[in-house]
Amino acid sequence: MRLTALLSMAARVIVPKDYRYGTNRPWTAAAKRLNPPGKRRRKVFVEPIAPEEWSVLKGDTVEIRKGNDKGKQGKVIQVFRRRNWVILEGLNTHHRYIGKTADYRGTYIASEAPILVRDVALVDPSDRKPTEVEWRFTEEGERVRVSLRTGRIIPKPVVERRDGIVPQQWKDGPKDTSPEDALEKTYIPSLKTLEEEVMEKLGIQENRRHRTSYWY
């Protein structure tokens, strides 16, 4: 097998068809411990929610409709599309010991359990009550979530980028092109190929003749 294919095989995790997705990412050690290669578990039926219909985004404020913490509002920390789960900050918690060793009993922490998306409702920011939400288009053509009860638009939550960059406060480094240079248009369409144009500009003259070759 080619070396690149072998290396990429090691990098990407291949998951069997009846894999049970949990709260751990499949490439982590914890997930490998819970789902070793030969393990087969009872199948979980996940309601197929189309990607266009999905309305709960990371960072949204939602209210719980069913469960122990019914009626409480919290921020969404993580979203699991495979199981239709959301994890809210500090809600739907159970307590467990973490970092246990032979002599130390471990730290007692509250850990959140995932909740199904159907058991949770988005909160309308104007009156802070739970509503049903629909995706609609504004007059400008932007796709937004509209609350069905009040008709108000629920804005998308501002999530920090994974690399920590805030676009408004960015300063170009020595190797970065300035915005004007990057957006400047220098293309003049012509009937020459890239190679011909570059050869012209650099003054390369190709005087060699092509030998007869056969294509089959």
């Binding site: 960015w170 990057a182 957006l183 570059v198 650099l202 089959y216």
Partner: protein, 266 residues
């Protein structure tokens, strides 16, 4: 001034890219090798510590004894002559855990650039990629994390997009001038296993009737293979029926548990 830059930054938030140092941006506009040499003299104010060797324009007859201009050119067409230092980052970034870098070039931005600019950008990106790969390898050798590995991925993505844009332009020109969609000739052929596939031609120095290895390739299906083809078709139909039944059973089970599902079209 600050608000103008921040507005520009906000409007083109995807516009931060990797390219030559700002001081050399006027080199980008210079087109031919001869002009580049004259440009080095005119942009003398841009000479920094990077231009260590003396400028090649000083005595052209002495430094370049070859008289015919068409056949011989200097290897470098830019002012920067840093040699092996180009394989390494600038010294202020040595030993840092995080080196910040801008966004990669998008195909939309690359489509507005001329062919010559794309050609130059390709080599700039290539050198940057070489530098990052050296860094990666050295980090592996010293068993240390490479600082900001996402730079390598950004450069690779930019190069892929550049190649896509160049291919688009070439294919548009080819379609216009010849009406051919593919640059490389080929044909639909049947192989000995009965599969019909797009066979891509190769370039040879001798015609096909003189090529012994090519004549041994058979582009037809022998008679004794046909029963096996029928069995293969049967297997395929059986598997297709099995998959469709499986999908139907899954859908009915899902509808039992989640009655609000509408049967999807697919």
């Amino acid at each position: 001034m600050g608000s103008a830059t921040s507005k520009m930054a906000a409007s083109s938030s995807a516009g931060r890219v990797l390219t030559l140092c700002k001081q050399f941006q006027n080199v980008f506009r210079i087109s031919s090798a001869t002009n580049a040499r004259q440009g080095a003299v005119s942009s003398a104010k841009c000479q920094t510590s990077l231009l260590r060797e003396k400028s090649p324009i000083v005595t052209p007859s002495w430094s370049n004894p070859i008289s015919s201009p068409g056949q011989y050119r200097a290897l470098h067409t830019t002012i920067s002559r840093r040699g092996l230092e180009e394989f390494f980052d600038s010294p202020e970034n040595w030993g840092e855990a995080n080196v910040k870098s801008g966004a990669p070039w998008t195909a939309k931005q690359l489509r507005t650039k001329s062919n010559e600019d794309l050609h130059k950008l390709w080599y700039v990106l290539l050198k940057e990629k070489n530098m990052l790969l050296t860094l990666e390898q050295e980090a592996k050798g010293q068993r240390v994390q490479m600082p900001s590995p996402e730079r390598l991925r950004k450069v690779e993505r930019s190069m892929i997009r550049l190649e896509t844009v160049a291919k688009e332009r070439e294919s548009a020109l080819r379609l216009l001038q010849t009406g051919q969609e593919k640059g490389r000739p080929g044909a639909w052929r049947r192989n000995i296993f009965g599969y019909v596939y797009w066979y891509r031609f190769k370039e040879y120095a001798i015609p096909w009737y003189m090529n012994r290895r090519y004549k041994r390739k058979r582009f037809y299906t022998p008679k004794f293979v046909e029963p096996h083809i029928r069995l293969r078709i049967e297997n395929y139909l059986r598997e297709r029926a099995r998959n469709e039944n499986l999908k139907k059973r899954r859908l009915t089970k899902l509808q039992e548990r989640f009655p609000q599902i509408k049967a999807p079209a697919s």
